[in-house]
C-alpha cells in the first residue's frame, strides 16, 4: 500500500476552523486544499510525529486561497 498522509490543517489567524483529512499525496507549499466549503493554500508543512507503518502525520498551515497575491 502506498503512503497515506494524515494532515492537520491549521488556518492562519485562527478565525476559521481547521481540518484533518487523509491524502494520497503529500501537501506542499502552494497546494490548494478544501476545508469545509472554502479553499485554502498551503503555506508550511511540518512533520507532526514520526511515521508509523504506511501513515505519515503532518501539520500544514494554510491561508484562504482568495488571498493569493499572484
Amino acid at each position: 500500500m502506498s503512503m497515506i498522509y494524515k494532515v492537520s490543517y491549521v488556518v492562519q489567524g485562527g478565525e476559521y476552523p481547521g481540518g484533518i483529512k487523509n491524502q494520497e499525496e503529500k501537501p506542499e507549499v502552494g497546494t490548494l486544499v478544501q476545508i469545509g466549503l472554502m479553499m485554502f493554500e498551503v503555506m508550511e508543512v511540518h512533520d507532526m510525529m514520526p511515521p508509523r507503518d504506511d501513515f505519515q502525520f503532518l501539520h500544514a498551515t494554510v491561508k484562504p486561497a482568495s488571498h493569493r497575491k499572484n
Binding site: 491549521v10 476552523p17 481540518g19 483529512k21 487523509n22 469545509g36 466549503l37 507532526m48 502525520f57
Partner: protein
Amino acid sequence: MELKQILKRVDLFRGLNNAQIDQIASISQEENYDQGVVIFKQGSAGDKMYIVGAGQLEVQVRDSDGTTYAAIYLGEGQIVGEMALIDQGKRSASVMAVENGTTIYSIPNHEFTALCERDTAIGYIMMRNIAQDLSFKLRHRDFDPSGS
C-alpha cells in the same frame, strides 16, 4: 472501493491483519448524507462511532453561553464519536455533513466492544490507535502556527 480497502486506509485500523479487518467490516454499516444533515447532536447518547469514507463532516460545539461554532472539519479517513465509545458519556459536539454525497461508516459501540473483548489482540490495537488519534487531535488543536 470495497469496504475492506477503505478500512485499510484508515489509521484507526493500522496494524490489523486481513482477517481482523474482515471482522471490523462485518460490523460496519455504510450511511450516506447530503449537505447540512445532522448525524448526531451534542448532548445525545453516543451509541456509535463513525469513519469518514468520502466528503467532510463539520464538528459543531455549543458553548456554555449558547453560542454554536464550527470547531473542526474531518475528512476522509477520520473518526468521530469515539469519545462516547471510550467513556460512555454524551456527545461532546454535534456533527453534520458538509457536502452532498458524504459517506460514513458507523460501528455500533456494543458490537465494537464485544469484538474487542472476544479478540483482545484487536482490542489492544484498536484502543492504542484510538488513543493515538485523540493525541493527534489534541496536537492539531494546540498547534501554534507562529512556532512559539
